[in-house]
Symmetry: none
Subunit: 225 residues, 2 copies
Amino acid sequence: MKRILIIEDEKSLVRFIQLELEHEQFFVKAAYDGSSGLQLALAEEWDMILLDIMLPHLDGVEVCRRLRNAKSTPVIMLTARDGLEDRVQGLDSGADDYIAKPFDIEELLARMRAIFRRIELQDQPNRAVLTFRDITVDLDARVATRGGTPIELTKREFDLLAVFMKHPNLVQTRDMLLDLVWGYDSQVETNVVDVYVRYLRNKLDSAGEESVIQTVRGMGYVMRP
Amino acid sequence: MKRILIIEDEKSLVRFIQLELEHEQFFVKAAYDGSSGLQLALAEEWDMILLDIMLPHLDGVEVCRRLRNAKSTPVIMLTARDGLEDRVQGLDSGADDYIAKPFDIEELLARMRAIFRRIELQDQPNRAVLTFRDITVDLDARVATRGGTPIELTKREFDLLAVFMKHPNLVQTRDMLLDLVWGYDSQVETNVVDVYVRYLRNKLDSAGEESVIQTVRGMGYVMRP
DNA sequence: TTACAATTTCAAGGTATGATCAAACTAGTA
DNA sequence: TACTAGTTTGATCATACCTTGAAATTGTAA
């Protein structure tokens, strides 16, 4: 369920938008002034923010600008019908679109859909994320996490971990790992595998518990549940 | 410079409007009858057409109707003071506005401005504005901003930034960037990518904070939140 | 056209990170 | 215990990346 934040001081308008969006299966929350809106925007995760440009405490342009320092949550600005200046400022401050008040709820929904579509196109394509136990490996972003916290890995370390994640439960011999990570014609000693397994263990394991990468004596290494 | 086409058989009136519009920095051309006017309207690109309703060969309503089959160039009809019938017909045939002769040149300019404004507002929301963190990239206007302030970029710099903005979080190898920005058959060394990343960093980053473009050693570069 | 400025590309030198090696050490097995 | 397999470590080495200035190219004004 998509989460929408409305930052708008006209309570009757908020109520109207909220009812319509909830009817469309969105989760909706509202803030009635700029500073508390910005706080909410930063504190929680939102799929979209509808942001009035004329707000008490902190105007919409400023809210958007400050939000953008930390996050890229999509923003639609709500502007006055003839506020050409506002719109330009709004887009410049990082808003994704704007809509002039008073607006048709259908038009708002259409613009929201358009932005969601754009974002899905941006993010989705071929995102290969491997997951095993509490470890994730995003091959495109080249980010690995353990229990949600990112782990800094070098190229070799990352590639090695990726092999284990692609084939969990499968024992990898040193030679197989050399082929897959160092290349089939690499000239390095098999000991480098040992060294890199150690590096991974140092970075992934927490003290006192058994390692995510187990050694199979006489065979090689595995990841097991 | 905006291009205006006048279709009007009263030559002295044409001359008057033309002088005034040129004084306002428009490019102006005229046709003196319906059929040649329609031809010109279809053959070239115009930002607006001023169309008399009473014309030899082909009247204004008919010109407008046929034009609308092919194009949506804005049209202002020039009608007789008391031709109520004309006005209705004119608007029905697809004109955007009308003005009654004889008219004040200021009124004409005001109506033209109103229409241009309406069109620009319509167009702007479809502008492809990429947003990530506090950076925006307007692909159509080819304007990039950081924290609301515009950043001057050369073509290569802009295209390179656009790639990063289109695929945030996705690590781009030098080869991918060369393909996307320099063209798949370009012959340049991959080092130019490094050089341009440096240029972008110089222009986008503020001293003392980590760069918006991170290098992933052994892989390439990324933009990350 | 020429001259000048802006932009793009190349190439070389410097630096730091990461990859590898080798030797010493530890643990498992018979 | 002796032997082998795996671990750990620091030192060395390679190379990826950064930086820079200068050359080449492109665009623009006179």
